[in-house]
Amino acid sequence: MKIKTIELSNFRQFEKEKLVFTDVVGKKVTIVHGQTHIGKTTLVKAFLWCLYRSDDSFKTDPILVNKDAEKFMSPGDKKTVSVTVELEHNGFGYVIKTEQAFTYFRNLNEGYFSPVIKDPIRHMIKMTQEGNPTSVPLEQVDNEINEILPDNLRCYFFYDGENNKIDDVAEKSNLQDAVRNIMNLNVREELIKYFSDGVAGRLVERFEDKKSTSNFEEVGNLKEQKSYFEGLIETERNNNKQLRQNIEELNGQITNLEDQIDANKESAELQEKARQITRQIAELKKHRDDLFPSLLKRCDSSESVGLAGFFSVLAYKKANLTVEYANIKTNERAYKHLTGESVDEIIQKGVCVCGQKIELGGDYYKHLIEEKDYLSPKDFSASLKSFTDRFNDQVDAVDSSAYQLSRDAADLKKTIQSIESFGKQLEDINKKLEGFHGDIGAWQRDLQQKKYTKSGNEAVINYSESNIIPQNETKISGFKEKIDKYSDASEKNRHIQMYLNYLSSVRDMAQTRLDKKKEGIAVTLEQQVNNLFHAIVGTDKTELRLNKVNYNVEPYQNDQRISLSTGQKTMKNLAFVGGLIYLAKNKDKIGGAEGVDLDEPDDYPLVMDAPFSYLSKGDIKRACTELPKYCSQLIITLLDKDFDLAIDVLKPFIDKSYTLKTNETSTDSHFEEDEL
């Protein structure tokens, strides 16, 4: 930054003034000197008001308008106060004009005029590198000013030494901010954050967001499953291969067996016949062995008929009882309604129903006794009938049994004969087969078994190839598809992780550089401040120690913290401001450079308002010798007495010098350029 001109219009004691500052290489100092209270400090404040539209000192007296101009204003008149600063920064030219309108009216209550003060408006015109003027939009002006000289640095480069308001700039609380701003530490830290984890909206987070949700474990599981089903297919194929080999072997064996059976066809037929006969004999024997005990059992008298039944009926039939005892049955007596007991009663009464007298032992008596045997309960004819009826019933049962027995006996006999007959046939066949030891039946069974096994093997292969293998192949295909998909995602994640790792290393690198930068800044600042301080003070007894965190500077002698006089404080301040300027000018050399705009050196002017107020002559001289070494532009306002002291030393550096004088006809002031 280099200040080229300042133009003041109706600004306090300046009605219309313009100062042009030095622009000659090697002569970087501009001096403005004058008596007290005629506008030196106002000039410095005009810079600040123009650039920042405010200054704390204006709060108590906000009416900036020129007093003489004010005097001639009538109610309703309007005056505009303005300060225009022309400067150059980083190759761009700037014209900054801040103006504020004051409208006067009569204050009825107070009885005097007072202005209506509008907020100051700041305009900026930026000259492009080609020299074309561009009006900067109002809302962008603050940003531009901040680029040129941040607000919080103004107190260091616009130094108010007369009022000593910045009585100890080297100990101000915003020192840290000042250094950080000058050296772009904030920007660097912000950039580092951009590469760090867990900070919303940062680069790391954006990469993290792009990571696929699928994970490696899932891919691992899928691969395991795929491998399992591949194993199944492999096993199936091996099994099928083995089965095919088995089928081949079986085909050979089947052909051999078929040939063998065919060659022994006749014997085979005989063996088959023999087998059939053997089966028939076995069946017959079983029948025989079932029939005999059943037949034998029916001989037992405990059976319903048995031999006893047979022969008792035979005896009955032979006796021909019905004929033999026909008489008994036909000569049944007439006393149908009498019982033996009735006859006993008649005998007891001694008189028969017919009136005949009955004498014991007499004929009638004997007759009655004889008759009684044919009466109930001793009716023998009835008993006989019952007896023959029972036998007649048994006759039917025996007849039936006889038929059954006859049939079964014939069956048994025939069965035995059949067994004998088949036995003979079997014997004949065996004779024919004599000398033939092969078991064709076994061969045939073996053949059938082999054909069955072959067919089973073929079915297994068929099912395996048409179902199991295709099903598993489908599953594998599904797994493969997923694995490919997830693997792609995994590959992407791997890349993202690489980027993240890279970001992390970039961050670490940037942090290392930042730390190095900070260390460099601290070391350099301390060194430069001490150098300048010792040069101004003229001795190096006092050591200024820099706090590397807040950059405060404290004086020590022999490792003891000491207090400084006001003059020493001023010199310390000058040394510190010099140190700051050194930092700005050497950004690219301190603590390593990034090779980016952050390390682009800045050149700040030093505008000092009565800086030597509390210095001795020697101090002033030394200060004037040293300060120009540090800054590219030095604008100093001085009391005339200090000017006289400084001029000799400063003269080689001074391009322009102005004397501030009061107007003869008013309270206003004006500048007159000195002849050097």
Binding site: K285, L296, S302, G306, L307, K413
Partner: protein, 178 residues
Amino acid sequence: MSTLFNDDVLIYGDYARIIKKLSATSDQDSEEWKVSNGIDSAVAQKPFGTYIDCLYAGAAIGLAKNAKIKQTDFSAIEKKSKASILSSAWRPRSKDFTYLYRLMLLTDPELELCKDERVKKAFTDVPESVTDIEFNYFLSYAYGGLVEVEKMFDKVHDYKEFSDLISTIVLEYQGNED
């Protein structure tokens, strides 16, 4: 001389042997009636279950074939044992034995009774009123029948002969049909 079965039933001599041979009643000194299936083997067989079944069959066959033995063949001990035979052998098959006994009373030619007397005797309560003579008559039929039974089965050595025996019995029965 072997005795049969228990204290109540005492049958001696050949009749006991026959019963043991043909009935399944266990006794250590019984003979076996062996019959072959004709080809493969011969096995011991028993046509009758208990000795009573055997005795009962003997009685029926004796009556049918009129094959009684003479009463004089009974030993003194046998005569003494008749009561026990009646009480023991009769009891489980009393109804069947009663019919056979009645048949014997009604038909035996050697019994010197008229028809009315035979009927009266046959249908008077038996066996309480059976006399020694009448029981001896019945037992001689039964023993005679046992001899016949043995003859029948002694002819049988295999299944074929057995089927012949059955056929013969059936033919004999059917040949006497009215």
